[in-house]
């Protein structure tokens, strides 16, 4: 690997290589340009950064631990596995890292109303949480299918005072929720802040969300240095839109010795038509404001993604991941629904941690790789979220399996 400036992007037009950009309707262009200017100013303002640090520490509970997963390590019999415990954050996932950053920006810009899309509901919960904390009304767009399978999170959002709008268009999942949020934004241009939950959308969102999430990797570097006195050998994170992965990966992109692996949702398998693996099973295109890899048919129509985990059920991926895939800095693999479920159970039983089904994809890849690696190999898995929200899904899956047996 000769290139060492993988962290340089995006350029002034929001491009990572050929990916990213600002493919939005003219009505929204002045808004995204304004947002980019405001974000640039905020991140150079010590007062903003101080406020951000305060909420990261006292509200989210950062830094969260880098935990040595001793029993999983023993079970695999190879690499030394560490969990970056994002599930211990307030609201139970990495999503709040980004929401705190964006709500502070929204307040700074004088916006009066928050909107967001959500898949599994973790981003919706995190948005509803910061909306409550900062006294802003909040509307969450959520696919009708996702509302059905994530009822606990829907109730949490309601408790926090958010209005939830079910989206029935398309497959009633994350992409349709994002379409509807964009329609809201284009209609309410004066007072509304669109709080995108992942490293996708028009520039500056992919870079901004990554920046707010990059604390994951920065803490990991320091914590592993303190524990082991060196860099990790490998990093593993699950990728839907890819915000927890970008958060963990970004700080290490220019450390050539660190192997980086992103795990896509393979659903029933990437050789079937039921998966959500945009890089492994898609081609480049333009959707939701950015050029990236997309699941689409020969006519350029977006096809339905499938994953057991609602949070990965999206036919696209953040543009920086598309870039890192093309330049081969990050290796992207896929894990099926069944493999993720097996890893979910293993982690529950061995570590006493109930991981989110999204996170279980990263764990499955770790469990696959660790046995083949030497005992001094240091592997960090992003424990991006807790699995409480997935009880219903896991229960019905187990019931179905028992029936079959």
């Amino acid at each position: 690997m000769t290139q060492t400036n993988f962290r340089a992007g995006p350029d002034a037009n929001g491009l990572f290589g050929e990916f990213g950009g600002r493919y939005v309707a003219e009505t929204l262009m002045p808004l995204v340009l304004d947002l980019a200017r405001e974000y640039e100013a905020a991140k150079a303002d010590p007062a903003f950064l101080e406020q951000l640090a305060y909420f990261q520490r006292d509200y989210i509970g950062r830094p969260n631990p880098l935990y040595f997963a001793e029993r999983l390590t023993e079970h695999c019999g190879g690499a030394k596995i560490f969990f970056k415990r994002e599930e211990l954050n307030h609201t139970g996932a990495h999503k709040v890292n980004n929401c705190i950053g964006q709500v502070l920006l929204a307040k700074r810009m004088g916006k009066k109303r928050l909107i967001a899309e959500t898949g599994a509901g973790m981003h919706g919960v995190a948005t509803a949480t910061v909306a409550a904390r900062f006294g802003l009304p909040c509307v969450i767009y959520m696919g009708a299918t996702d509302i059905e399978r994530q009822q606990a999170n829907v109730f949490r959002m309601k408790l926090l005072g958010a209005e939830i709008v079910p989206v029935t268009a398309g497959t009633g999942t994350l992409k349709d929720a994002m379409n509807e949020a964009l329609r809201d934004w284009v209609t309410n241009v004066d007072d509304t802040f669109y709080l995108i939950g992942t490293v996708a959308g028009p520039h500056p969102y992919p870079a901004m969300v990554r920046d707010f999430q990059s604390i994951i990797g920065k803490e990991t570097r320091e914590q592993l240095q303190a524990k082991e006195g060196r860099l990790p050998d490998s990093l593993i994170a699950c990728v839907g839109g890819g915000s927890n992965a970008m958060g963990l990966f970004h700080d290490f992109l220019d450390d050539a010795s660190v192997q980086i692996i992103g795990v896509e949702a393979g659903g029933h398998g990437v050789d079937t038509d039921k998966h959500a693996a945009s890089l492994n099973g898609g081609v480049p295109g333009v959707l939701h404001g950015n050029r990236t890899y997309l699941l689409q048919d020969a006519d350029g129509q977006i096809t339905d993604a499938h994953s057991i985990s609602a949070g990965l059920d999206y036919p696209g991926i953040g543009p920086e991941h598309a870039y890192l895939h093309e330049v081969k800095r990050v290796e992207y693999v896929s894990i099926t629904d069944d493999e993720a479920l097996a890893a979910f159970h293993t982690t529950c039983r061995l570590e006493g941690i109930i991981p989110a089904l999204e996170t279980s994809h990263a764990l499955a890849e770790a469990i696959k790789r660790a046995p083949t690696l030497p005992k001094d190999h240091l592997m960090v898995v992003c424990l991006s979220g807790r699995g409480d929200k997935d009880m219903q899904t896991v229960m019905s899956h187990m019931a179905a399996q028992e029936k079959q047996a």
Binding site: G21, T27, L28, L31, T187, D299, G300, Q301, I302
Partner: protein, 270 residues
């Protein structure tokens, strides 16, 4: 002179505004849609916007979202949309056709092949909702090099600082989106449209067509007094949604088109 220039020049000489009609290609099916397309000029449409269906029409309201779904379910593709234009041009050489939609299907088709085929079948202009001037190099530049107009959307949020950039490479006409919102949503007041057009005229000599929220002959007539073109889409598309048969869809769309045309033609410009 391009077909769009020709048409707007003729109408200027007549002292009236153009009725610009939008339908989604392939809605409710290929044959009925082609019948509507072929019938529109006789029903008074001066310029036709033909929507290229896309699964994720982020800037469209419910009416056009549903039209898109009907077309896709009936098997419409970008290749079939181009074929429709080819069939239309067999007996119409004068009514300009502007293809309108989102970038991804064109990106997938291949820009070079798309531009060549669009030109060959007789497409006059393009409106691509999610390609702002920042991405001109992708499609606007090659399309214009091939002699296809690239029509820009200007909106209430396009301020005076940004407007020159948006208009710089515009050709054919300028589309003014009169409300911040999705297609088919609320309508703007004539006062708003009037001052917006005044502002646009300070920046461009191109004809200006106004759209979003115009549904009735009366509304069309009011806007026709102010601008060179009046765009009606969702109201026409709703006729297809409400029709019980394909024949009824064809009849109802053309009937509304005639009524709108009367409104526009009755409103001579001051």
């Amino acid at each position: 002179m391009s077909r769009l220039e020709q048409r707007f020049a003729e109408l200027k000489a007549e002292g009236r505004s153009a009725l610009v009609t939008f339908i989604t290609a392939g809605d409710p099916g290929y044959d009925a849609s082609l019948q509507i397309l072929k019938g529109l000029p006789a029903a008074g449409a001066d310029v036709i916007e033909l929507g290229m269906p896309f699964t994720d029409p982020m800037a469209d309201g419910v009416a056009i979202q549903l039209a898109t779904l009907r077309a896709l379910e009936a098997g419409q593709t970008l290749a079939k949309t181009l074929q429709m234009v080819r069939e239309f041009r067999v007996d119409n050489q004068t009514t300009p056709i502007v293809l309108m939609g989102y970038y991804n299907p064109i990106h997938r088709f291949g820009v070079e092949a798309f531009v060549a085929q669009a030109k060959a079948v007789g497409v006059d202009g393009l409106i691509i909702v999610d390609l702002p001037p920042e991405h001109d190099a992708e499609l606007a530049t090659p399309a214009q090099a091939a002699g296809i107009d690239f029509i820009r959307l200007t909106t209430p949020t396009t301020d005076d600082v940004r407007l020159p950039r948006v208009l710089e490479r515009s050709s054919g006409f300028v589309y003014y989106v009169s409300v911040a919102g999705v297609t088919g949503a609320g309508s703007a007041t004539t006062e708003h449209v009037s001052s917006a057009i005044e502002r646009l005229r300070r920046h461009t000599d191109l004809p200006i067509s106004v759209g979003f929220g115009i549904r009735t002959p009366e509304q069309a007539a009011a806007i026709a007094k102010l601008s060179e073109g009046v765009v009606v889409g969702s109201a026409l598309v709703d006729k297809i949604a409400n029709a019980k048969t394909a024949e009824q869809a064809v009849g109802d769309v053309l009937e509304l088109c005639s009524a709108l045309a009367q409104g526009v033609r009755g409103a001579r410009k001051a």
